[in-house]
Symmetry: C2
């Protein structure tokens, strides 16, 4: 089931060995936020009382669940509330961005137990990244007091394109020396835990689904980072594509003020916005587009200048939102959803403008449709690392009726 | 469960009353093409032998299934093969197109028992259409010897936009006198059977899934009719959108030879192609764009002239395929599927050019991706009426584990 790993820690192997019913019961306990007893679990799962009791016993023994004091309620034996033990298991999400590597540690209750960021070293090589990730994961779990034996695995969010079946990064645009890097298996071997790899935008979409549980079943995620992409969440599931590479929206066309066509990416990614700003005389440094850290810093300066009232800097950012509206409207017309979520590594720097203007920028191009709502990412800039960790939680904790029916 | 119907015929009510297990068993029998016995059904369904026997007994009694002669096989009681009785139930699909109303009668085995086409009367009113549909459905079932009491229902495919919850056609572009027409319930009342309504492109997508069973789980359907639209089939399911109005691709931009932007619809729908051909001096009649029958006939003439070697007529059609390739590539980059299916009312007239050139027209705009295959619609021009009938079959015959899990 889990590719690219020899040794498997205790918590992961316990959960991986657990049958479907065990995962179902654990998921019900997690969702109930402490408002569930064995009797309730029988009602909600449809399982026999004895089966529920056996499963709960195993979950208590393994430290994944705890049982509270009895709560008197009518006649009969008073029920005892069950809750997941946050320290019972954990997962680390790693977002490998060309400019920054971000880490998020999730506990079993889905809470963020810790976060870290490291600048991606310039000219970094795959082996350096693997060593840095292993070390940083150990630092993070250690500093949070998490038991390494209870680490379920590492979720790794990377820039596309990926070869999903082999866990390989193909030719990430801003990591020019990287070609066909088997990062998933290299990291799994070095870390000694299972590693799941996903394209960055789709990891971010998983984060939004995980954090908004049950609230927003169908939406488009606009992902703003070193590049731009969109995630599709349909029926509460992230559509990751046949090859794990869905979401390429950079080539979709819109038009500028003069009616000339332009590619969406040329109007929204930081490298291009900096060039446009310089052409308009904005005081931002010239940057090498292959130096993602320099691009990121120059973009921050552009945003600060706009916030300070520099009209040309503001215009560049405003036109970016207008282009995003025109392109997203085309996508909304295609997939028919009623809201858009915006997030990604750039989010906190541009959120004011997007929340103010994106919905109205979409409006003129929507076909037979009322306004589409625009919601901010639940996790903001760190959505991708959070989603990568949630991928691991999903793999071990979410009951998957679909895959069972097909089995 | 079924909206807008008072009286329900015998076959429909029997199936509607059937529990999930009965639907599951009937579906297994249907898929097995006569290669299944009661024992096999027990193995495949996971149901107890007595349960299977009871269900099979009910299906035999109601005439939905027949049992063949015993086939000796090893020791023990020889198994008797079960097959669905094609005449046990049927469904009619109606495709209301501004130019033509098409009808398809499906039997319980999924076979096409009959087809009919009627020109849509010019300036037609909703009440006239309802009367015409009721009369034509009776003609079709009668001429095919189908028992009216075994008609499960009518599937109605209509041009969007629709109000899905109320079963209302909002403002179909080529039916200028129609606004807010409650066609679903009006037809159900007049016909005395359940009516399911779906946007045309999504009914066509259902047809492709139904006919290709299990073969092609993820694809984009390019639907060529009086208008143009796309259907999304993801994980074997038609994504119909939050409001049943997904698929609007006409506003997506591409560029012409000079690099100027143009809307996809302006390069692909028959009315516009006829205008372009006339501007190039092609001998096609001037048509009123609000007269769909005249547009359809002029389009047929344009296709015939191109087939006879008229270079300008050929160029108009070729540029249409080039535009389709450029636009579909954008969609493929977004959703990451590896094939496109093309169909709809225009299909047989343009299939040669699309099959020859669409894949190469997509290629230059695909991001990090090999060729995308182009497949012809399984049902060709009549795909939409077939899909509308399949909607009804799906409603009564397809086990839906998803909806059960959520229940």
């Amino acid at each position: 089931m889990i590719e690219g790993v020899g040794h498997m820690p205790k918590a992961a192997s316990q959960l991986a060995m657990g049958d479907f019913n065990q995962v179902l019961v654990l998921d019900l306990i997690r969702r109930a936020n402490g408002q569930v007893s064995r009797i309730d679990l029988g009602d909600r799962s449809g399982l026999a009382p004895q089966t529920v009791s056996n499963i709960v016993g195993r979950l208590l023994d393994s430290g994944l669940v705890t049982e509270g004091a009895a709560v008197p309620r009518g006649r009969g034996k008073p029920p005892r509330p069950l809750t997941v033990n946050p320290a019972g298991a954990c997962a680390v999400g790693v977002h490998l961005d060309p400019a920054t590597v971000s880490y998020t540690l999730l506990d079993l209750a889905g809470g963020v137990a810790g976060r870290l960021r490291r600048r991606t070293p310039p000219g970094t090589k795959p082996a350096d990244i693997v060593a840095q990730v292993v070390e940083t994961v150990a630092d993070l779990t250690g500093s949070c007091g998490a038991d390494p034996d209870r680490l379920l695995g590492i979720g790794l969010a990377v820039p596309g394109p990926i070869d999903d079946s082999r866990g390989v990064l193909l030719t990430p645009p801003q990591l020019s020396q990287w070609h066909d890097v088997p990062l998933r298996d290299d990291l799994a071997t070095a870390a000694g835990v299972p590693v799941l790899m996903e394209k960055d935008v789709n990891a971010a979409a998983v984060a939004e689904v995980w954090a908004r549980e049950g609230c927003h079943e169908d939406f488009v995620l606009l992902y703003l980072g070193t590049g731009v992409a969109t995630g599709l969440v349909l029926g509460g599931e992230v559509w990751r594509g046949r090859s794990g590479n869905s979401g390429e929206i950079g080539g979709v066309l819109t038009t500028d003020d003069s009616g000339a066509p332009l590619r969406f990416a040329d109007r929204v990614i930081p490298g291009d916005l900096i060039c446009q700003a310089r052409e308009l005389g904005v005081d931002v440094p010239e940057v090498d587009p292959d130096d993602p850290v320099a691009v990121d810093e120059a973009f921050t300066r552009l945003v600060l200048l706009a916030a300070d009232g520099d009209p040309a800097a503001g215009r560049v950012l405003d036109e970016s939102v207008t282009a995003a509206g025109a392109v997203l409207a085309q996508l909304i017309n295609l997939v028919d959803v009623d809201h858009v979520v915006v997030g990604g590594p750039l989010w906190s720097r541009v959120s004011d403008r997007y929340l103010a203007d994106l919905a109205s920028a979409m409006r003129p191009r929507l076909v037979d449709r009322d306004d589409v709502r625009v919601l901010p990412s639940v996790q903001g800039d760190t959505v991708t690392a959070y989603g990568a960790a949630a991928l691991v939680m999903n793999r071990f904790l979410a009951p998957r009726p679909g895959s069972l029916i097909g089995a």
